[in-house]
């Protein structure tokens, strides 16, 4: 169960090997989390993570899935509920893609959208149904500031996150009164493997800082969490720039 301070005891992580997900789990097990279900594509990576958590006395289950196959993502959700309630589910998988390739390759763009949007939405409805039946739970999904306004430089990734963001905002409203809450997290530029070698955007942050914002946001039942918080105002300004000006912003 989630306690009065919003701390979950049982957690499912889809995309568990992502650096933000790992930072979230590390913080949750410092709190009340004692059962963690880790799901990811990389079996070896999962094993290593599980080992580390078990040494802290956490009950860990692992399951593999491939988000380019939404059915396998839903299967991972089903697995997690087989051995008990899930208090919090974190949807942390995603791919950045390669804008310059993707915008000329229908197969590549299909993959980005399938992973970032279709599989996440399929997992979202599966989680919503399971959690509605158990009468409680929190779904936390990693969106991105890139979804706030599509940019010339990354509109493939950005549009997939925009779709995901809109889907989960709507899912949240559909779950009012069910005991299930949805929190959409919009991190800015995070220093991770995914962004390695890229030029940091303003207000860049780290996986651990995002994790702290994720946990605090979910605990207070926030519908949207910006990480870092001031991004909300920065992006609000960007959103209202005239198109001609916005298009000319480098990067």
């Amino acid at each position: 169960m989630n306690d009065a301070l919003g701390q979950p005891q049982s957690v499912l992580v889809l995309g568990a090997t992502s650096e933000i997900a790992r930072a979230v789990v590390d913080r949750l097990v410092e709190g009340r989390a004692r059962r963690v279900v880790l799901a990811a594509r990389d079996e070896a990576g999962l094993g290593e993570l599980a080992e580390g958590l078990r040494s802290k006395g956490v009950a860990v289950e692992t399951t593999t899935f491939d988000a380019s196959d939404p059915a396998s993502t839903v299967a991972a959700v089903d697995t997690a509920f087989r051995s008990g309630d899930v208090d919090m589910a974190l949807i942390a998988f995603g791919v950045l893609g390669d804008q310059l390739v993707d915008e000329h390759d229908p197969a590549a763009i299909t993959r980005v959208v399938t992973v970032n949007f279709t599989a996440a939405a399929a997992a979202g409805v599966a989680l919503a149904d399971r959690m509605r039946a158990q009468g409680h739970g929190a779904i936390v999904v990693l969106s991105s500031v890139a979804g706030e306004r599509p940019r010339r430089a990354n509109f493939v990734y950005g549009s997939s996150k925009a779709g995901l963001d809109a889907f989960f905002q709507g899912l949240r409203d559909s779950l009012v009164g069910s005991g299930v809450q949805v929190t959409v997290v919009r991190p800015g530029f995070v220093h991770t493997r995914m962004t390695h070698g890229m030029k940091p955007a303003p207000l860049s942050t780290t996986p651990d800082a995002v994790a702290a914002d994720v946990i605090a946001g979910a605990a207070r039942g926030a519908h949207t969490v910006w990480s870092p918080g001031p991004l909300r105002f920065f992006m609000s300004a960007l959103r209202h720039l005239p198109r001609g000006v916005f298009r000319r912003i480098p990067g």
Binding site: N2, A4, L5, H136
Partner: protein, 451 residues
């Protein structure tokens, strides 16, 4: 049956359940046999602060519709009351005939079933014990049938303080207490610090039936633990003579005068406003006052005058932390108060009281010692860590926290705080082998089995 989002009085950690209203014992039997894997739980007036009366995804029986029987024998003071009858109803009927509930908590808005499930206590615990001591028998609907249980039986002890997890109380026979009037004679004094408070209570409590201290846990330094001590007893007719001439000595007409607004800004009650309130509360109390006449409601239930006061804590709600440490562990109590004050944990006026003998309930909270209860808003960063520290101190000293108020304890500490948990589980399982009775509290704290 309808799906409803339920919380405790603290309005934290909501969960949805299928709520069914109970009108007669047959409704309970039907619900017990229809329950699925998410189980079933009775709920009264929802005054438990945390998740004790919630059952996520399962069935919750609204017991407030079960109001018969309700029979008071005014010669013996024996009351036969259905589980859904509130202490408020009992007092409104019984006080004008010269009888009073043997135990009342800080609110009249609790049901007989809830009073048994939490084995509630009041300001007279040092003299009269908890609610269970005054229950002569009760009728309990369990998944294996309806049984009548009486003091001394294992099932009786498992049910008093059993948090509704041994079955659904249908009715109870309770011995009321004769009172000479509907008024209280109250002595008030202010103490300068924790030592003075403890000394005053140790020395003087035996002279009073009711005793409680409002303790300030925010003011640091040499006034740490300063308190307003109020103690009293029911006023005799001769004591009222000449002071309340025109009023019927048994008049009992409590009224709700105020209602909290439906919405309060988050953070209205914060470290600064709470400290200011604590200061004002201490200052407005008389330094020493003897023999003041109070009404029952102003002495026992001041907050019942404000409807929905729990909303003042805003959207995130609040929690109440109540612990007890045995006599002799005063050092632990002092460390707890010092920790709260030095970490500047925003806590409203605490309640400090000396408990007397325990009832036989396996999971009943009160044991001889000092109990401290504090209200705290949710949302302050320090609260969780400070309370975890307090839990460790309390467990180490052989104390415990009150399950009816808990909303955040670590499950691993429960067997230490409640050493008879294993015994309770065996008795519980014997009447509910299919684990039909379940609650969010039980899930969170592994009450039914170790995880």
């Amino acid at each position: 049956m309808s799906t409803e989002l339920l919380t405790g009085w603290g309005r934290t950690a909501p969960s949805a359940a299928h709520v069914a209203t109970v009108r007669c014992p047959a409704d309970v039997a039907a619900a017990l046999s229809a329950a699925d894997g998410r189980g079933l739980l009775p709920r009264g007036l929802g005054r438990a602060y945390g998740d004790a009366a919630q059952n996520a995804g399962g069935a919750v029986l609204d017991m407030t519709g079960l109001t018969t029987p309700f029979e008071l024998d005014t010669s013996s003071g024996l009351l036969r009351a259905a589980a859904g009858i509130s202490l408020d109803t009992i007092m409104r009927h019984a006080v004008p005939t010269g009888w009073f509930v043997p135990v009342t908590p800080g609110t009249r808005q609790v049901t007989v079933g809830g009073a048994i499930a939490a084995d509630i206590h009041g300001k007279n615990h040092h003299a009269d014990g908890s609610f269970a001591r005054h229950v002569r028998s009760m009728v309990l609907a369990t998944p294996s049938g309806v049984v009548t249980t009486t003091p001394g039986e294992a099932l009786f002890d498992a049910t008093t303080g059993g948090m509704g997890l041994t079955g659904v109380v249908l009715e109870a026979t309770i011995a009321l207490m004769p009172v000479p009037s509907a008024f209280m004679m109250v002595d008030t004094e202010r103490t300068a610090d924790l030592d003075e408070t403890l000394a005053a209570m140790t020395e003087g409590d035996t002279r009073y039936r009711y005793s409680v201290a409002w303790i300030d846990c925010l003011t640091p330094g040499r006034h740490l633990g300063r308190s307003v001590l109020t103690r009293g007893d029911h006023a005799g007719a001769e004591q009222l003579a000449g002071r309340r001439k025109t009023v019927d000595p048994f008049r009992f007409t409590p009224a709700t005068r105020l209602s909290a607004p439906p919405w309060a800004p988050p953070g209205l009650l914060n470290r600064t406003t709470i400290r200011a309130f604590n200061e004002a509360w201490y200052r407005r109390a008389p330094k020493r006052e003897v023999g003041a006449v109070h009404t029952i409601s102003s002495f026992f239930h001041p907050l019942d005058g404000v409807r929905d006061w729990n909303r003042l804590y805003g959207r995130r709600g609040f929690l109440q932390y109540q612990m007890v440490v045995p006599f002799g562990a005063e050092e632990t109590l002092r460390r707890a108060v010092t920790t709260l004050s030095s970490r500047r944990c925003p806590s409203f006026l605490g309640v400090l009281k000396a408990f007397g003998e325990a009832s036989g309930g396996h999971l009943s909270f009160p044991v001889p010692g000092w109990t401290l209860a504090l209200d705290m808003p949710v949302g302050d960063d320090t609260t969780g860590a400070v309370l975890d520290e307090l839990d460790d101190m309390v467990a180490e000293a052989g104390g415990r926290v009150y399950l009816a108020k808990d909303s955040r304890l670590r499950p691993g500490l429960v067997p230490l705080m409640y050493p008879r948990l294993g015994e309770w589980r065996e008795i519980r399982d014997s009447v509910d082998p299919g684990r039909v009775l379940r609650s969010d509290l039980a899930r969170r704290l592994d009450l039914l089995e170790d995880k």
